[in-house]
């Protein structure tokens, strides 16, 4: 059985092991690119959010290659994500493709409905299969944890690198290493290896006052996929910002298993700001995360906050409209910048805005340190 799933940045090794672990063959679509996106744009609704279009284009590419089993995650929440697989199935069927759509219900992972998906993917129907399923789930968790480690290190180290491009190179190498390892033992060893790989990068450790600390947060697909967000993490790093990003696939999975205590802390931060508009309930998407992290970074004394989201995303827009006013009213002293991504993004505009933002942050920091800024 040949299976495919859509891309979400560097998370593909984790998803891959979820399918190969139970004995399915995987076709990995090409990394997202403009040519592939065209097909998705052509057939998706006009103002649906961008991840819908990207994932649809992945599916179209895979179906053209002759894959006939698609796997898509789905949610229960008030956000559009729960509708993705159904509408995509409808669109693809109307296009005349013949395939089977599997969906991974991850609204609440503790209801263990995901086992059904894994059972359906494997051809082995014996009882022994359950061992394989749980082994696969553990491999998936370990891999996603490693990917989280890699992505966090990448954001923090890039601004110090001496040779431009070293970090990206190491990142790709580590992701490949994670993909190659397929036993618990190997993955355990990888933990140290990854840290060593990043230690090998030649760095120029600068004064703490010079480096800008920027928090990056937003909708998960947009934050994790470098094609969708025009590699904003790399761009920020090359402009001299230490990028801190808490959001990751592992974080998301932990939240769905109800053991993400960092998120619970963020929830508490939100609820404590009731008077000035902190969210009082989970409104879907990553709105809780984003607003909580904004408060968290402000309290930890960060310099800037970058919020990225797909254009017209409902929860993120709610968060954005509150964040905009928070800085305007001087409740928190950390300037946010917002980027809504769509298929129409021009790269030059993005770079200009980022550069000026970083310049402003630098000026602000100098003022803070010396009492006067650049003239």
């Amino acid at each position: 059985m040949k299976v495919t799933f859509p891309h979400m940045g560097n998370c593909w090794p984790a998803f891959k092991v979820l399918c190969t672990g139970v004995g399915a063959e995987v076709y990995l679509p090409d990394p997202n690119n403009v040519k592939q996106l065209d097909a998705g744009l052509k057939h998706s609704p006009e103002w649906v959010c961008f991840p819908f279009k990207v994932t649809l284009s992945n599916f179209i590419e895979a179906l053209d290659e002759g894959v006939d089993n698609l796997v898509m995650a789905t949610d229960c929440g008030p956000c559009r994500f729960g509708f993705y697989y159904a509408v995509q199935e409808r669109i693809l069927r109307d296009l005349g493709y013949d395939f089977k759509m599997y969906y991974l219900p991850q609204g609440d992972l503790l209801d263990f409905k995901w086992i059904k998906l894994l059972k359906a993917l494997s051809e082995d129907k014996s009882l022994l299969n359950y061992f394989r399923i749980f082994r696969t789930a553990r491999l998936f968790l370990m891999k996603s944890q490693l990917i989280q480690t890699v992505e966090k290190l990448e954001g923090k180290i890039r601004c110090y690198e001496v040779n431009k491009g070293d970090t990206t190179h190491t990142l790709n190498k580590c992701i490949q290493l994670i993909d190659d390892a397929n036993t618990f033992n190997e993955l355990n060893k990888l933990r140290k290896r990854i840290k060593n790989e990043f230690d090998k990068i030649e760095i120029n450790k600068r004064d703490n006052n010079e480096i800008l600390k920027v928090g990056l947060s937003g909708e998960i697909q947009v934050t994790l996929d470098p094609f969708v967000n025009h590699d904003i993490k790399r761009k920020l790093g090359e402009l001299g910002c230490e990028v801190h990003m808490n959001l990751s696939l592992y974080d998301w999975i932990k939240h769905k298993f109800h053991v993400n205590f960092h998120r619970k802390y963020l929830e508490y931060l939100n609820k404590s700001q009731k008077n000035i508009g902190g969210l009082q309930m989970d409104i879907g998407g990553e709105a809780f995360w984003v607003m909580g992290e904004y408060i968290d970074y402000a309290q930890r004394g960060f310099d800037g906050f970058v919020h990225i989201y797909p254009f017209t995303c409902m929860p993120e827009i709610t968060a954005k409209s509150i964040l905009t006013k928070w800085y305007g009213n001087k409740y928190f002293d950390i300037p946010p910048i917002f980027f809504g991504f769509d298929e129409h993004s021009g790269e030059a505009g993005l770079i200009t805005r980022l550069e000026s933002y970083v310049d402003l942050l630098k000026n602000k920091k100098e003022k803070k340190n010396n009492g006067n800024g650049r003239k």
């Binding site: 103002w47 229960c76 008030p78 559009r80 508009g277 009082q280 409902m314 827009i317 954005k320």
Partner: protein, 356 residues
């Protein structure tokens, strides 16, 4: 003793167009004065647009405008309930869930907000109403009596709309306290029967939709809105595919109404009104358009925002109505007057043309 009634401001926006009759009776029974914001006008859109961020949908921009309009009216409380779900298994859009927080976070110098959660997943409606009554320091007995009357009024109001009244007229009847009102059925010769489907705040707010219903009426079109359809059709949860049930509150109504219209085929065309950036509608629109194409029912989606030029929308609607009329008449021409020479306009077409 002079009793000073507390003044509660209710913005004339969003779910005002759905649940206002309920809260109106309830609050009035509890001895509260209700202050409504002005009807939507260009000034409200203007200030609302200035306060809201650029990407938010127009109903929310209008909501800000209405709230700011209310602040000028010397109110004691602002009524911003948090609607989470009103039927089991559905939620409202995330912007509704975070509405009180958004209002609190973005507008300064607010009076105290009356915020209570309407969440049928957790507690039935009467407990939400009980919470609201307790905020106003009323006794349980008073709240119970008021709520019973409110539910009665709301049911009467819905019945009026099912009988064919528009939102405005039904509200007037409710205000007149005349419970024996029976709507007269006017028999007009109409050229087509068109359903206007969409969120209540888009369909019944004549400013957002540029007075679409009146304009259609002038074209001799019989307009049916979602509330005019029988109540039974809204009881079952709609299904998108065999594995997915719809989970949006407002869309639930739209989908059941459209499914009903598709089944009965007692309609010549469907106009779907939605606001730009509306999340749920972007997907619902796609599903409905595909269904309509399969069943060969004329369907048009009108996307509205504060920049919509009136001429553009009207042209599209006129063309849509023309198309439907022609479709109907063509069938007649083929079967009844096969020898009619080209160039002579059909009589009923001429009548429509005169209106333009």
């Amino acid at each position: 003793m002079i009793v000073i009634k507390k003044r509660i401001g209710i913005p004339r926006s969003l779910l005002y167009y759905k649940y206002f009759p309920l809260w109106k009776t309830f609050l009035e029974e509890l001895g509260v004065e209700i202050v409504l914001s002005d009807r939507t006008n260009s000034k409200i859109i203007d200030i609302g647009g200035r306060y809201a961020i650029d990407e938010i949908c127009i109903p929310l921009k209008l909501y800000y405008g209405h709230v700011l309009n209310l602040l000028e009216k010397n109110i004691d409380y602002l009524f911003v309930p948090r609607y989470v779900s009103t039927t089991i298994g559905t939620y409202f859009c995330p912007k509704f869930l975070g509405l009180p927080d958004m209002v609190r976070g973005t507008i300064d110098n607010l009076p105290p907000i009356i915020e209570f959660e309407v969440n049928m997943q957790k507690r039935p409606m009467y407990l939400s109403a009980y919470k609201l009554g307790k905020v106003l320091h009323k006794s349980t007995w008073q709240i119970k009596k008021a709520y019973e009357k409110a539910i009665k009024d709301y049911k009467y109001f819905r019945q009026l709309m099912v009988d064919g009244l528009s939102f405005k007229k039904a509200l007037n009847v409710l205000n007149s306290k005349n419970r024996n009102f029976k709507p007269k059925k006017k028999i007009i010769d109409y050229v087509a029967k068109i359903a206007i489907i969409g969120h209540g705040y888009n369909v019944h707010d004549s400013f957002i939709n540029m007075n679409l219903i009146n304009k259609l009426n002038k074209m001799k079109v019989n307009v049916v809105t979602l509330e005019n359809l029988p109540l039974e059709i809204f009881k079952n949860q709609t299904v998108i595919t065999n594995t997915l049930e719809n989970y949006w509150g407002n869309e639930e109504e739209i989908l059941s109404a459209v499914n009903y219209l598709f089944e009965t085929k007692d309609i010549d065309g469907i106009i779907f009104i939605c606001s730009f950036c509306c999340g749920p509608d972007s997907l619902i629109d796609e599903i409905m358009a595909r269904d309509a194409k399969k069943l060969k029912i004329p369907y048009i989606g009108l996307v509205l925002d504060e920049h919509s030029g009136q001429a553009g929308v009207i042209t599209r609607v006129e063309a849509f109505v023309d198309m439907i009329v022609r479709k109907k008449n063509n069938i007649r021409i083929i079967y009844k007057k096969p020898t009619m020479p080209i160039g002579i306009i059909n009589k009923s077409e001429k009548e429509v043309g005169a209106e333009f």
